[in-house]
Amino acid sequence: MGRYSIFAVAAGALGGNRGWRPAWRKAVPKPSYEVVIVGGGGHGLATAHYLAREHGITDVAVVEKGWIGSGNVGRNTTIVRSNYMLDRTVPFYEASLKLWEGLSHDLNFNVMFSSRGVINLAHTPAQMDIFTRRANSMMLNGIAAEMLDVAGLRRRVPLLDVSPAARFPVVGAIHQARGGTARHDAVAWGYARAADSRGVDIIENCEVTGFLREGDRITGVRTTRGDIRARKTAVAVAGSTSQVMALAGIDDLPIESHVLQAFVSEGMKPALDVVVTFGAGHLYISQSDKGGLVFGGDIDGYNSYAQRGNLPIVEDVASAALAMFPAFSRVRLLRTWGGLMDMTMDGQPIITTGPLPGLYLNCGWCYEGFKATPASGFTFAWTIAKDEPHPLNAPFRLDRFRQGRVLDEKGRGPYPGHH
């Protein structure tokens, strides 16, 4: 497969653009692999890429129930940031942001990463105190953070209602200038193409229906396209984690599956060149390069596998958006979609060996999945290759709940709906 470059584009144009090849092969499953990754989402594909690039393990298959890009990797609001607070979570998300910054070059695929900045609004002095604490925590971890006052916000986000007459008057904000957005489909396609070019088989329309075992040990997967044996089997299936793991006999995990909706408006001229989040409710909004406003808010609030949302959240996010940007009142909604979030009891993921021999688990992404895609793949690949966690994902153990070592950024307790 050829590299993409300006010369390839020029040569393609001169040839009438008839010479372009699919970005990855339609692989047919072999009887056995070194590693089988269940789930061809962003995290599964990134894991395959870093297994091949970092560890030289190319005898890898990624099996995906649907088609590449059909799951959560294409059902999010594309926001990337590392403005976390806990010493055990900040380095992971910062490592992810650093991978994002070089991702287009690494993959030879334009993922349109745009570090346009992420602004979290504060509406009370107490909220400013909390954000100041978070900014200090970030800076102690070597990450730039900036506090904005109302005048600064007015300059940076002209359409934002910062008047005292606003429904929830704004008193300031925390700003991470390196945060931003990326094109989510391109992330899936870029990782798939890069992994495929190193020899990874990407097998679409191949649903896992069971696991092959020898005693306790997992030795591969049963699929709708036949059995596939593997020395190591890795699971990265987001909202379907409980269902897939039940096939391996793991019935109880610290996970609930919830629907998280995302919305996009009709396209319009550039109006918002930064990601802004609401502090008096839950809303995050940005404008895509195509012109649509992309926004989302809370999970629907009750366990669901429906991949479609309910109306109360539509009202909730629309009212929050208008409280911030009254000028958007006549913008029409174009599309909404829902993704299945694997919400954990502390709002942070699980990346670990086990829980059975030969098995590796990557799940529990809550609201964090998209921004974490590169670091998730990088550390999961490390965990699979070396049979031990990378220092970055060492805190994301499965047994941290039992041990009381939870990673509860906001101190909200074991209720997935609250994170």
Partner: protein, 89 residues
């Protein structure tokens, strides 16, 4: 989504607050082993299909109810007061 409150009749989902699976009704004894408390606080069946979970009729009669519900179709099969056993049909 409308939830059939046993006291108020069918009411809009927005009147209710969601708690989680009805496992919360099976609270371990104070001296139960750590594993029992871990399971109670953290571990979930998370079924794709029939489930029973706790809802609080916050903007209505303030009753806790157990709702039998399908997590794939969002269909609601029935509801009963949480204080009157868990036989929601």
């Amino acid at each position: 989504m409308r939830i059939p409150c046993p006291l108020c009749g069918p009411r809009d989902r927005r009147e209710f607050t969601y708690m989680g699976a009805d496992d919360f009704l099976r609270r371990p004894a104070a001296d139960a082993p750590a594993e029992a408390w871990d399971a109670y606080l953290h571990l979930r069946d998370n079924p794709a299909g029939a489930t029973r979970d706790l809802w609080f009729h916050e903007a209505g009669c303030q009753a806790w109810i157990v709702v039998s519900r399908d997590t794939v179709t969002h269909e609601i099969a029935g509801a009963a007061l949480a204080g009157e056993g868990r036989d929601a049909t």
